[in-house]
Every structure is written in C-alpha cells, then in structure tokens.
Amino acid sequence: MNRNIEPPITEISRPTLWEHRQTKLSNGLDIVYLHDPNQEVFKIDVIVPTGGYYQPQPIVASTMLSMLNEGTRLHTSTEIAELFDYHGAYVDFNCGMHKSEINMISLNKYARETIRMVAEMVLESIFPRKELEIYIRNRKQQHLVNIEKTAYLARMEFIYRLYGDTHPYANRFTLEDFDRVTPDILMKYYKERFQASHCRIMLCGNINDTVIREVSEAFAPMSNLPLPDTQLFDIHPYAPGRYHVTKPDAVQTSIRIGKAGVSLLDEDYTNFQLLNMVLGGYFGSRLMSNIREEKGYTYGIGSYNVTMPLAAYWMIATDVNADQAEATIEECMKEIRRLQTEPVPEEELHLVKSYFNGELLRELDGAFAQSDALKHKLNYGIDNTFYLRTIDRIRTCTAEDIMRMANKYLQPEDMYIVTAGK
C-alpha cells in the first residue's frame, strides 16, 4: 500500500430532504412536523412573534420569554420545573429579534404531560412578582460578569456603531433598564403578541398520532387577535473606522472587524458565503492559517455573516495577545485586499466548495437537524429546497465571482474596526 496516494474521494451526495407535513388549527396556528418512526423522543418548538425588535422597552422580550416557566394560572414555578424534571424533559428559551422560541425535548412516553405543560406556559402564564425579582437580580449579576469579558464588550460596541443609538439590532440597555421591568408590562406584552395565527409549532422526532392530538388539543384555546401595529426603526450608523473600549487589565484584546453583510435572500448570498469561508469561515481559512497557524497570535479567529430579517452584518472575530492586536488588524486587512486583487486559486476554491457541501449535508443530517433548518427557513418564507439551490450555486461559482464579491462587499473604508482591551 502506498500511503503517498490519497484514497479516491467520491463527490458529496446531494442531501435528501425529509418530507414535512403541515396542518393548521382552527385558530390559525400553523403546525409543521417531520416524523421519524425510529425515535423514541420528540422535540417541540413554539415560535412566537416576539423579540428585541418589538418591545416597549429594553429587556422586556427576553424577560417575558424566560419567565414563561415561572408560574401559570394553575401551577407555580416549582411545580412546572418539577413536572419537566420528573419526566426527563428539557425546556429552553431562545429570544431573537423578530421571532422567539420555546423549545422542549421529551420522551414519547410522557408526551401528554409535557406537551400540556408547554401549552400552559404559552397560554396561561402570570409572571409572578417574586419570581421576576429573582430573575432580574440574577440577570443583573450575569450582566456584570459579561462586562468583564473583552469579547462581550467588543461585540456590543460593534453592533452599536453599526446600528446606531435607536435601532433594536444594536441591543442597547442600561443597568437601570432591568429595574424598570414590571409584571404588568410583561403581561401586557405577552397578551398582545401571543396570537395563534402569528405563531408556528415545529415538531420532529417520533411524531405519532398521540403527539399531534395532544398538541392540537392543548393549543386549540390559544387566542387569535390581530397584532398591534409595530414601530419601524431606521438604522443611523456611526461612521466606519476605529473604536476602542478600554479594559485596563485585560491580557488579551478582542477584535471585531466588519460591516453590513449579505441577506439570506440576496442573489449574492451563496457566493458571499464562499468568499467568507475562504477568508475566515473554516479551520483551514486564510485568517486561521495566517493568524493562528503561521503566527500563533491567537487560539482562534473566524469570520461570520449574520443575517436577520431586516439587515445582515458581517464580521471577523478574534481574541489575541494584547501586544499583537495592531499586527492582527493589519494582517486581516491584508488578507481582505488579497481577495480583492488576486483570484482564489482553483485548488483552494475546490476545497472550500467541498467543505461547504459537506457542511450543508451536515446541517440536514437527520430529522432533528432538518427540522431546525426548516424552522429557520420558514421564518424567511422559504423551505429546505433552499439548500438544493445553494448547492447548485456553489457548483457554478468561479474565482472571478469571489473577487467580485470581495470588491462589492468588503471595502476597507466601510469597515468598523473595534477593539476591547488595555
């Protein structure tokens, strides 16, 4: 056997999309499910139209969501926790900008008990004052821990400069905002926005008739009123350039370099993703090879395109040896310029395409992954056929396309360069 010759590689297969089914309750609640009969567990995601974009004041959306398991008309917070714990179910909350989620994973044999309790939280929460005080106290302390981290400080400064003083995407709040949240404000917000025809339930795993029946029954009483009008916000960004947050004793400096990104629905999305990958989107990327593997300035460096319904941003993120911060920024800009002026070699482009194809196959591996992928895509009005189109786009993308993307989207004069450290 000759170890110098690599084994032949077969082309990565196209993902097989699981068929999802859809049904609607009479109150307009949309139920989407992927059934895998080989599982003995299932997952439920309740997607609700709340989030940082639609809130009367800071902290309210996330607090309301996190407080859903802190008391209902029928059960105390301890009874709710006891029910989920006893049945081995895990509940989680995920607050976004426009949509938020209540997630639960449960054994099928306890579907009845656990689904009913999820529905009770969604339909009959009461936001008790005592629990709110505890929640706020702990959240404040968590905030104080966060502001000791340079990575947190740099990220917050970055989105602030990018989205300005008033836009919700900047996620601005003060310590005082925590104390201004009251049970009444939470209740009003909850009552206004949890409306059935604006929500969706995703189910995956073993979605047998019992699960469907329990969900249908439990969520049937959900109200369905029109949502209140929402205020729309304009983005008033600060000027691009250098911004620094001082943290005197920090041994590392956190760096964020970036600008507006490319939206999921944009024509350029896939090509831009490929560009991002070449630069900083995988372990073998140019930034990793240069800043970590060649120079050893950092444990890790990466770049990301984050897409939200009304805007996207793109950024490079790293924490480096404080003495090498300037050198790192310079190398980042050098790598960007190189992508704008030199075509990516065929071999490298081929590598990135293969890796990207593998990643997409991974994102769709199994019922649970497909459900998560679909949940995200449905929020943008598309479904998982998005992946098949992406795979076709990857195939046709050329080195010239990558260079065009770099010149269109990564102009140095548009960049916000944020550092947090000494």
Binding site: S13, N138, V145
Partner: protein, 412 residues
C-alpha cells in the same frame, strides 16, 4: 440498545464498529489512552499541547485538515486529564480518507520545530483566553492543588502555568509520541452508515501494519486519604460577585460510589425543581447560581459545590447554607419521587445521547477505555441505588475531613 462489534488487531489496536443507517455520515473516533495525568509534574500541559501538534502533518500527508475538508469532513479533538480524543465525521463513502489520515499520523507524525513554536504560542493564547481573560477563569488553577496533593489531577489539562508550555522541546515531543501514540494504546471506534464487516476490513487495511509501542505505563500516583479540612481564601479578584467552592473526594468512574454520588448531585441540583435551586436561589436568595456536580474523572474524582453569591450576602452565611443542605440530606428523608425523578432524567439523558452517531462512537470508545464497553447499554441499571445507600454515601462523602473550601472573593 446500541449494537456493536469489538475486535483487537494483532498490533493491539481495539476496533469497535456500530452501524447506523439513519445518517449519510460516519464518525471515525480515536481515543488515545493518555491525558494530563500521565504528564511529568515539571512539564504539565503536554498532552494537550501534543494534541495541537497532531494537526501539524504526518510523514506522507503534510496537511491534515486539507484532506478532511476536501472530502467534506469535519474534525476536532479534546484532551482531558484521562485521555485524548480525536474524531472525524465524513460522508460514509469517504471513510478511507479518514482512515488514511488517522493511520498515517499514528504511524509517523512529522515533527517540526516550526509547528512546535507556533502551537506553543497558540496554546499560551488559549491559556490566557480561558483562564485569565475570563472572570472566575483561574479558579481551578487554585482549587485543584488544594484538593490534590499527590495525584496529577492537581493540575488542569492546560498545565500548571504558562512556563511549562513555553519550555517544551522537540525531543520531549518525540518521546511522548513514541510512548503513547501507538495502536496498543488506542481505541478506534466507528459509527455511521457502514457495515461492521466493511469498517473492520478497512481498518485492518490502514492500521494493520503499524507497530505497537509495547510501552510499560508508569502507574499514576494514588491520592492518599485526606485527613483534615483544607481552606483557601483568594482575594482581590476582578469579578462582580464572591464565589464559594466546596469539594469532596469521591470514588472512581467504575465504582458504585460514582453512581451514588451522581444521584446525590442530581437530587441536590439538577434542574429548577432541585433542592439547592429552590432553597438557596428561590427562597433563600443567597445565591445567583448554585450547582452540585461530580467531575466524572476515571480515577477518584471530586464532588463539587459551586456557588456565586447574591449581592450583600456574607460568604460565611452562604457557606453555612450549603452545609445546612448537606446536613438536611444526611438526616432527613429522600422521597421516592425525588429518586424516581433522577432515574427518569438519567434514562432520558441516555436516550437523547443515542440520537447522534458521533456521540455513540465517542461513548463506545470511552466505555471500552473504562474497561466495560457493555456499560453503554447497561449503565442505567447502575443508577438503581437504594435510598439508604445514598444516605450512607452522603454521610461518608460529606465528612469535614474530606472537604476543601475555596472562597473566591471580589475586589473590595
């Protein structure tokens, strides 16, 4: 129920296969039976530094990652005190790429001064990122040497201090490789869309001709029984709240004591209906976070209480509250429902962990390393511990002579 087959090749390599046709991928997982506990006390952090060097290229393959990525694969690794684990997940049709890469670096890693120089810096930055640039990040650097006086668990996998990493030489790297990176010191497990027969055949093809190390391992020193209470106060930390840690020596990963301790920790603090959460966060308002857990090490490990204090609470008061929960556990009844809850949660946790093929391959290798691969299917039975055993275990475990306490105080 996870079905698997297990073989040992002539060179000592253990091979475990599990077929899972629900995924188009396979996971190729290699566990090397070497961790931070096998290090020289004067050269700590070496097992972990070495893990980084394993990605620096091997005799026939200068760029490891390149080939993984080209085949649509993904890979990662971690080191802990007991072992070092590497895995690749890759489309099943490209499994030979993974076996080619793993066998080549097991057979002959390419030692380069340049790679060592760079990875030393990378690991030093990792050290800073995790331990110094992170509130509470360095507490295990203080707590481990308090709890362990002899056993190498007294240092974390990253090492005792940065100087140990900065001083590593190429000779030491080579020596480490020849001792520990060999088929007779490794467990290869494969899970995914491939038959057991085919997987075994391909493993034999790529790994069959690698020579064993036949290295006689040095015994890891045993921690003597702790005979008196230990205390340490760390002051002037740049953190927003005081924190307290109380740790107790417990049994090893194979012992009945391990399972009893795991249940005790779950009754105390698993979930928002657990005792510590209700009594100390919700009702007592003494802590913003409180946790009881076990470290889960292979050799006798630690039962840990960790808590962050609420604003204005005196640390003495917080410590007394933990002690009172301990007394309550020993003296007052545990309800059947509390116990059943823990059993249900454990069963559920095991069910969830069987969903993912990569988890399965890693767990199969780990249980085999423990010495009883069948635990992957039978472990839930070991959690059936009678109530009186739990109380007796707690009584012995939580003896004051067995305790080390760290007060981690904020800047005044």
């Amino acid at each position: 129920m996870i079905k698997y087959t297990r073989h040992t090749l002539d060179n000592g390599l253990t091979v475990i296969c599990n077929t899972d046709t629900s995924t188009p991928f396979v996971s190729v997982n290699i566990l090397y039976k070497v961790g931070a506990k096998n290090e020289d006390p004067n050269r700590t952090g070496f097992a972990h530094l070495f893990e980084h060097l394993m990605f620096g290229g091997s005799k026939h393959i200068p760029n490891y990652d390149y080939h993984v990525q080209k085949a649509g694969g993904d890979n990662n690794a971690f080191t802990n005190n007991d072992y070092t684990n590497y895995y690749i997940t890759i489309p099943a049709s490209n499994i030979e790429t993974a076996l080619w890469l793993e066998s080549d670096r097991m057979m002959a890693l390419d030692f380069s001064q340049k790679s060592l120089d760079v990875q030393r810096n990378v690991v030093i930055e990792e050290f800073k990122q995790r331990y110094f640039n992170n509130p509470y990040g360095d507490l295990w650097l203080k707590l481990r040497p308090l709890a362990y006086k002899v056993h190498p668990y007294q240092w974390p996998t990253i090492g005792k201090n940065i100087d140990h990493i900065a001083g590593a030489t190429l000779e030491e790297v080579k020596d480490f490789f020849h001792r520990f990176y060999a088929p007779d010191n490794a467990i290869l497990s494969i899970s995914g869309n491939i038959t057991d027969e085919k997987a075994l055949e391909l493993v034999k093809k790529w790994f069959g001709d690698i020579a064993p190390a036949n290295y006689t391992r040095q015994a890891v020193p045993v921690e003597p029984r702790q005979t008196e209470e230990r205390r340490l106060v760390s002051e002037h930390n740049k953190v927003p709240a005081d924190a307290i840690y109380k740790v107790y020596h417990m049994g090893d990963r194979r012992s009945d004591n391990f399972y009893a301790c795991d249940i005790i920790s779950d009754i105390l603090s698993n979930g928002q209906s657990s005792r510590l959460y209700i009594n100390l966060i919700k009702n007592g308002k003494l802590f913003s976070e409180i946790d009881a857990y076990i470290t889960g090490d292979m050799d006798p490990g630690l039962f840990v209480f960790s808590g962050k204090l609420s604003e204005g609470v005196a640390i003495e008061e917080a410590e007394a509250a933990i002690q009172s929960e301990i007394n309550h556990f020993i003296e007052d009844p545990i309800t059947e429902r509390e116990l059943q809850k823990v059993i249900n949660k454990t069963d559920a946790r095991i069910s969830y962990s069987e969903i993912n093929y990569q988890n399965k391959s890693a767990n199969l290798a780990f249980f085999d390393y423990l010495g009883d691969i069948e635990l992957i299917n039978s472990e839930s039975k070991r959690y059936q511990v009678p109530l009186d055993t739990l109380k007796q275990t707690a009584k012995e475990l939580f003896s004051i002579d067995n305790c080390s306490t760290l007060w981690y105080l904020k800047e005044k």
